[in-house]
Symmetry: C2
């Protein structure tokens, strides 16, 4: 496999997206934004032996998960994904079958949201290393931020928690995010467990939070996993009690030290995933 | 160093850019495009032992080169860079001094073009791995593509070639690219030597090319290096003889087999950099 051949193979499968004037094959992709839209951007790494294990991750699932991490961030902004750029450094164990499977999984998830693969980069490395940038669009001023939560707001999670591994495929909450845009006061995707992500939302909003209900759990998951495990692809968000939003109520925003969170009346420790603490999923 | 601390350190130095409504610290960055603009996007990997050697690359230079690779693509589209996202996987040898130096070099180059660091991701890896996405803007319809060259057009390079290592710092041709927008018929950045990049431009434009002058050379560089070496940060572009553009004329576009290039009357072999041929700079 050489780079030109791989690029040609991808061009044929990259898909189209509204506004994408030029995709794979030039120095840059070209996107023409619609009137009244603002764009949101996120990028997420997906690395062998850090985010996934080669032995336990089929190629298609690896491709889907590599994209889903960024899609979950797009969902948390209330935006619609438009296109992605995929940088991929390949180790020598990757053969054509794995390569094709990886992009099949990634592009299957991309098609679900009518988004295109618009470009990227390729190189080689000792461990498979992928970085996926996604651009999404949302009506001007309607993007959800972490910083808008106010005392009295209710806190919601979008679905049962405790580790996505109980599901067959990651399912980022794009549809729900779109519904929340302009309604929720703040949102974040649960990438590192409720404890760390609710801390982040509260710190950004300069408020505190109390959780007074056990969060909804995936079958077989424990409350501890829901509080401290990552990669759930669910959203954590707040809304005024006057606004009706879908989801599971778990508590409320209160005045207090910025970022402090209580769970059933006791302070909740920060035990979420931190890459520099040496965790490995 | 933990991730929250590193993110806080970067937030303070990330800079601002027109249109960037939200930078580091949320699930996504938010950008509000100006009226009449189209956006261009590129991403480039920069990996230890593939693109740079730790022993011979000071941290600041590594940061500047990581960004310059993408800026050169932005220049080739005739666009102005607006913001970047930086994904960085750090090996255990990286200490705070190196980390700070890397971002100092990257942000110094970013400030030169009034662009901001708008976000990114961080993780760990055995080898330092960086992926830099840059978004640029250009007036609608004025972006330069590889595919517009026509028989009779003249071929130019923007400056002396033969390997950027003869220079102290990479200098992507942003200013020149802006001048060429709407004037040049096609453009590409020279990332893999003239032979491979002129092949790419001609293949995209469905034309052939003849080079009838030795390209301008950096002091100490050979014509062979100029033809087949990469990472020059110069542009290769074509323009109608009726249009006046700056640069060094090296030949002209002719009818012929798409992508075929002759040099001083003889076919030019494709010897440019291909990551999957196992090269390492």
């Amino acid at each position: 496999m050489n780079e030109r051949e791989l690029v040609r193979r991808l061009q044929a499968k990259a898909g189209r997206a509204p506004g994408l004037a030029l995709g794979i094959g030039d120095d840059c992709a070209i996107y023409r934004p619609g009137a009244g839209q603002e764009l949101v951007f996120t990028t997420d790494l997906f690395i062998e032996d850090v985010h996934f294990l080669r032995v336990s991750t089929p190629a298609e699932q690896a491709g889907a998960r590599a994209l889903a991490r960024s899609l979950s961030d797009i969902a948390a902004m209330g935006a619609s994904p438009r296109f992605c750029l995929v940088s991929l450094a390949l180790p020598s164990w990757v053969n054509r079958k794995w390569f094709d499977g990886f992009y099949r999984g990634l592009l299957k998830l991309a098609r679900k949201y009518k988004m295109a693969l618009a470009g990227g980069d390729m190189s080689h490395a000792a461990k498979l290393t992928c970085d996926v940038m996604v651009c999404g669009s949302v009506a001007k001023g309607k993007a959800l931020r972490r910083s808008g939560a106010k005392p009295g707001d209710l806190i919601y999670v979008s679905g049962p928690l405790g580790g996505w591994k109980h599901k067959k495929q990651p399912e980022p909450r794009i549809e729900l995010g779109r519904k929340l845009a302009g309604k929720a006061s703040a949102a974040i995707d649960i990438s590192d467990g409720i404890s760390l992500d609710l801390y982040r939302l509260c710190a950004a909003s300069n408020v505190a939070a109390k959780i007074d209900r056990v969060p909804p759990l995936l079958p077989g998951a424990t409350a501890k996993q829901a509080l401290h495990d990552g990669e759930d692809y669910e959203l954590l968000y707040t809304a005024s009690p006057k606004v009706s939003v879908p989801g599971f109520k778990i508590g409320s925003i209160v005045r207090g030290r910025a970022g402090s969170v209580s769970y059933m009346g006791r302070p909740l420790a920060l035990k979420g995933y931190d890459h520099f603490a040496g965790n490995c999923s």
